[in-house]
Subunit: 248 residues, 2 copies
């Protein structure tokens, strides 16, 4: 580890999709960093120590030269700026805009769709076993109102069939848009592999969990080809963007 | 209008907050452009012609050199890159990250909070008068499932008191975070006026509409001072980021 990177720390979780995006960037760039795993089920992301680094109370957080950087898509652009070798940002302004539209779509539509579609696979069953007092105590330390409401719903008012249909519609629309953009590829933001491809990867790796809902990557030939190329990258393996397994 | 900018067209709406962010950038940079007003109440944003430019079916869309750029926060960064004079992006990577965190917070929390808090002031009462056939016809041309659901709710299942309380909590949290960051200001992303300040401006201009819900800018001294400085900028007036009035 050289001196520059000794000051690079990533607070992350192995199964967190947002953390996976940042690890993928770090591995593509072959930048050394210190990883600190945050135990999400123990709610370590809501401790006062962690909130001092990240007022939203979620992972990941990058700390570089003593200064925290939050939000995975922001961290990815930050890393590309401070470690410009092996650039993951297109050189053309129109392609950069296209890349950022994918970052936004991921953050605003894809994360939510997979969160709702997957709610009953991991966090939901755990949250539903909490007592009322436990629910209240846990919600009280969650700083962002939207996230507090998500946890309340997982614990006491599970997502409805209509919510899940809506999430499925959003996943299908995402695949349609990917298929459209890949026609002008071979990557999502054009000629070169970029952050756009990285942003989508931790969600597409889980697409197989939704076969019973009629979502099949093989129905999208360009997406399938894209996925074969993306998942063959050595950095993908090193970043551990693997299918999520459940002990439940 | 010089030759470079003759090829710059902005599809926008005067009262659209997202459009206002882009107009503010164009006016700060004093870049000439052709503005085309899209009639949102006539649903012009959902016509096939407009969808060919912007598959999401919302404003604004910038067309530069014949290529569309969508999403207001992406357009703002794009404009700063292609018209670098009067830069609105901090030179320091940490401050740039801080600016982008504000772009994200605006897009993911602030827009939604004001949409819910304001729903019954403009679009809601109009949507509720549509017949069932009219609702169905209008929804059928909205391409993004989330937006379709928003319109369905405005027409048939208005936001509840709980939804509105949640929106108010998000607005208050936004003001708390602004007050926090402005301590290390005088602008939201540090020493210089930047896109972060622009992103928040079309929402803060409407904050007075929520006095009856206990939201008062004067309770936040740094935000009040920031607003005085921001709204005195000549570009703010030229961009027409004025209080929204209703004919209803």
């Amino acid at each position: 580890m050289d001196e520059t990177n000794a000051s690079l720390t990533l607070y992350h979780a192995w199964v967190s999709s947002a953390s996976r995006r940042v690890r993928f960037v770090l591995e593509e760039k072959e930048v050394d960093y210190q990883g600190i795993a945050v135990d999400l089920l123990a709610f370590e992301q809501h401790t006062p120590e962690y909130l001092a680094l990240n007022p939203n109370g979620w992972v990941p957080t990058l700390v570089h030269d003593g200064v925290p950087v939050i939000e995975s898509s922001v961290i990815c652009e930050y890393l590309d700026e401070v470690f410009p070798a092996t650039s993951l940002v297109p050189t053309n302004a129109h392609d950069r805009a296209r890349m950022r539209v994918w970052a936004k779509w991921t953050d605003e539509v894809v994360i939510r769709a997979f969160q709702v579609a997957n709610w009953n696979r991991m966090m939901g069953p755990i949250a539903q076993q909490w007592s009322d007092a436990e629910v209240e105590r846990k919600l009280s330390v969650i700083p962002v109102p939207d996230r507090r409401e998500d946890w309340r719903r997982m614990a006491r008012e599970p997502f409805s069939d209509a919510d899940i249909s809506h999430a499925v519609a959003n996943i299908l629309r995402t695949l349609d848009r990917m298929e459209h953009d890949l026609a002008d590829g071979p990557w999502l933001a054009g000629k070169n592999f970029s952050l756009a491809d990285i942003h989508l990867s931790p969600y597409i790796v889980r697409i197989g969990e939704h076969a019973d809902r009629g979502i099949h990557l093989k129905d999208y030939p360009r997406c399938s080809d894209w996925w074969t190329r993306l998942s063959a990258r050595p950095a993908f393996t090193r970043a551990r963007i693997e299918p999520v397994t459940f002990n439940a």
